[in-house]
């Protein structure tokens, strides 16, 4: 632990601290402090999440907010100064809401600052990458035990996974979905008409075509080539009734748990191209690509589409901002029954129809297996067109769960709960951290009966 603590030693750091840094303005004593980096994450969805969570917090909490001026990669000086500013206000609780701030480093700085004084309860919003940082969390375990810490996960299965890493299980874990800005994403028949027209002239999408839409990073993490494969078969078996539109930039990140992150720039585009070029020309003409779109156009495309599809099996899939936005636009979804995606079933329940249908996923000795049949069935079910009325209802149901206000209410409930003292991390987390420390922990890929299953079994359907 002590590597981090030592790095943050005040005497060493004091010399490094820039005098020009803007100080956090903390005047009111005894309120909650929300810590958020001023520079949002390079991950687009994480940046949106931080922004929306921040809005949700400030809706109900009259909290003091601390902005960090610099990305924290610069070192411990920033953190220590921030921790000192926070300490001086004697806050009742401290809330960490974004993934730019390395929570474990910031907490180390807080412990140094508070020394023997008791720390206020700490609330940490957890992102999908939590499992990649287990070693760092373990490094501060002993000091975490001196306080109560509450983890907020974006989905039920992420909470289940985190619970497996904690001695007290889910006692200090709550589910709080990431909010969607519903002023940006909403259902509008007029928009649907307008964007359908645009897609007809640009890609030849006809009125009676069923338009499948994927938005997000086009990456191996999102299993895009498999999606193309499945849609190819769907198009062939349905005489071309379907068209697929993929929207987003190409991304070359690999899968840290299985193959590392070492892909070269442009390599995923080549993989995608190969996959597209292997299709028969008439099928290829029904698969379209648009790069990153602004929010207004994205909203238009969600409205124009008929089904949102994603076959992601990525281990960071703790929620799913794109499906959440799609649902707020009244767009039914077909998703893998995996990780945070499965939580969208709540919207189905709220709305009373099967607006989110899941593709079966199994973990076998061969790896994670997706059922093509199940995907096909789900898409054909959803293709029985959703009327405007039904879409409007779906949009409303999604807003009731994912709007900034809805999430703010959830936050209020969670913060009313009493957090028990932190008891420590489980042996499973230690085993995972050990596996992570040797580089790529699961080079054979996801396998049943493996350590992977003990952890990510939480992302699978119980049934």
């Amino acid at each position: 632990m002590v590597e981090i603590i030592r790095e943050l030693d005040p005497d060493i750091i004091r010399q490094k601290v820039s005098t020009e840094r803007k100080k956090a303005h903390l005047t009111q004593e005894g309120s909650a402090v929300i810590v958020v980096s001023k520079e949002f994450s390079a991950w687009k969805s994480a940046a949106i999440i931080s922004h929306n969570l921040f809005k949700a917090y400030t809706t109900y909490f009259k909290s003091q907010v601390v902005f960090l001026n610099e990305p924290l990669s610069k070192g411990g000086g920033e953190l220590l100064e921030l921790a000192q500013s926070i300490h001086s206000t004697r806050p009742k609780k401290i809330i960490l809401i974004d993934d730019v701030l390395p929570a474990y480093q910031f907490l180390s700085a807080l412990f140094i600052t508070y020394r023997s004084e008791p720390l206020p309860p700490i609330y940490v919003h957890v992102y999908g990458s939590f499992t990649l940082w287990t070693k760092s969390w373990l490094a501060i375990e002993s000091v975490l035990k001196k306080t109560s810490i509450h983890f907020l996960c974006a989905s039920e299965r992420q909470a289940e996974l985190l619970g497996r890493f904690l001695i007290q299980g889910r006692d200090c874990v709550s589910v709080c979905p990431f909010p969607v800005e519903v002023n940006d994403y909403f259902f509008s028949p007029a928009l649907r008409c307008e964007y359908r027209g645009k897609l007809e002239s640009e890609f030849g999408v006809q009125t009676d075509d069923v338009l499948l839409l994927f938005t997000g990073r086009l990456s191996v993490q999102k299993n895009i080539t498999r999606l193309i494969q499945e849609v190819d078969s769907l198009i062939k078996s349905n005489q071309g009734k379907f068209q697929l539109l993929l929207v987003g930039n190409f991304d070359d990140k690999g899968i840290p748990l299985f193959s590392g992150n070492d892909r070269k720039f442009g390599s995923y585009y080549q993989q995608w191209l190969k996959s597209i070029e292997s299709l028969e020309p008439w099928v290829r003409s029904r698969i379209h690509y648009l790069s990153h779109q602004n929010t207004a156009d994205l909203n238009g495309l969600y409205n124009a589409a008929d089904i949102f599809v994603s076959l992601s099996l990525y281990h960071d899939e703790d929620f799913g901002m794109s499906p959440a936005e799609a649902l707020c636009c009244g767009l039914p979804t077909v998703l893998t029954d995996w990780g945070g995606y499965s939580d969208f079933e709540h919207v189905s329940k709220l709305e009373g129809t099967k607006s989110c249908i899941f593709t079966e996923v199994q973990l076998t000795s061969e790896g994670l297996v997706l059922s093509s049949e199940s995907f096909k069935r789900a898409v054909l079910t959803q293709a029985d067109s959703f009327s405007s009325r039904k879409r409007s209802r779906l949009s409303q149901a999604a807003k009731n769960r994912y709007s900034v206000h809805a999430v703010a209410s959830r936050i209020k409930i969670i913060h009313a709960l009493k957090s028990p003292p932190f008891l420590g991390f489980s042996r499973l987390m230690r085993s995972h951290a050990k596996a992570m420390s040797i580089g790529i922990p699961y080079p054979q890929g996801p396998r049943k009966w493996d350590l992977y299953e003990k952890i990510y079994g939480a992302y699978l359907s119980k049934s």
């Binding site: 520079e39 390079a42 687009k44 990305p71 191996v220 299993n223 080539t225 498999r226 930039n249 190409f250 070359d252 690999g254 899968i255 299985f258 193959s259 892909r263 070269k264 720039f265 442009g266 390599s267 585009y269 080549q270 993989q271 191209l273 190969k274 690509y289 790069s291 990153h292 099996l313 790896g367 994670l368 890929g445």
Partner: protein, 321 residues
């Protein structure tokens, strides 16, 4: 069948075999980020990464990202292809005339091709490059910015907002003080584009989801790098090349094979340059040139900070070509 998360075999390829020692690290660091790796079936590399010519036998095509100095250095070390040589080396279209006749049978050419054209509606101009003499000399900068200024004036595009991603690098060639060079460089830019230039940093660059509003300018005289990663990055996100003329005479090959690198850009490749298209090689003058013999090119005559494996005088000489 491959699993969804696996790299396709050909993506890992032979590039893992290239040299990764300290001297390569030094050059790569110096040229960061313009020399950052990217993937292409054409195996883009810098010649300084290759110690063993045998490596070239692993793939049929190799795209040389080097500028003039790297190329001349390589051809000086290897005046003719080794026996049984089969691979095709692709040289940037502005540099093919420096390929010695003995190598020409095995050399093709490439040039950048974008599907997106620069247009009046693009509101921003993004100036990129490394602020160091090895990357773009002041003389070359002058020529380039005058052309840009003339183009901006003629097209009435003076209203474009100007951004810069210009990274100051140490002077690795010796000679003038680095700070003096940087001052002159930046003053020249300011003189043409005015004081309202907004600098962006690497994090901001990476966070740009689209370069749709940007015309991109690469201040580069192709001395050490003819194929900038920054171009590939920006063009792959819908950036456009600013209408500029290259410093050296481009090879005029007819439309070659298009190798897509992104939905919006790629490389046009000519694997076999027809005999009549080859520009005249100024070799006779070279070989007789005493300076060429005198300066030599060996690893002992390194530049001041020992970044590049060639000498300052060698670089000076290439600038006169």
């Amino acid at each position: 069948m491959k699993e969804w998360w696996q790299h396709p075999k050909d993506m890992r390829g032979v590039l893992n075999l290239v040299r990764k020692d300290h001297s390569v690290e030094m050059i790569t660091r110096f040229l960061w980020p313009v020399a950052n790796d990217y993937y292409s079936k054409l195996n883009p590399i810098f010649l300084y990464q290759i110690h063993d010519l045998g490596l070239f036998s692993y793939a049929p095509n190799w795209l040389l990202r080097d500028g003039l100095v790297g190329l001349l250095w390589f051809f000086k070390k290897n005046p003719k292809p080794p026996p049984k040589w089969k691979s095709c080396l692709l040289v940037h279209s502005s540099l093919v005339r420096y390929v010695p006749p003995l190598w020409r049978k095995f050399v093709g050419s490439y040039r950048l091709k974008t599907q997106v054209s620069s247009c009046l509606e693009r509101r921003c101009l993004l100036l990129t490059g490394l602020v160091t003499e090895a990357f773009c000399s002041l003389e070359s900068l002058n020529v380039q910015i005058e052309k840009i200024a003339a183009h901006l004036d003629s097209a009435g595009k003076r209203k474009k907002k100007v951004f810069s991603f210009l990274l100051v690098k140490p002077n690795v060639l010796g000679g003038d003080e680095c700070s003096q060079f940087v001052c002159e460089y930046l003053l020249k830019i300011q003189k043409v584009f005015g004081p309202e230039i907004s600098p962006i940093n690497w994090n901001q660059w990476l966070r740009l989801e689209s370069f749709q509003e940007f015309d991109i300018v690469d201040f580069n005289d192709y001395t050490v790098c003819a194929d900038s990663f920054l171009y590939h990055y920006a063009l792959s996100l819908r950036g456009a090349l600013f209408a500029e003329s290259p410093r050296r005479q481009d090879l005029d090959f007819d439309v070659g094979e298009y190798q897509s690198l992104s939905p919006y850009h790629g490389l046009e490749v000519c694997y076999e340059i027809p005999k009549e298209k080859w520009p005249e090689y100024p070799s006779e003058t070279f070989i007789e040139n005493k300076k060429y013999r005198k300066i030599g090119i060996n690893r002992s005559s390194v530049n001041e900070q020992r970044v590049f494996p060639w000498s300052r005088s060698f670089v000076n000489w290439t600038q006169t070509l």
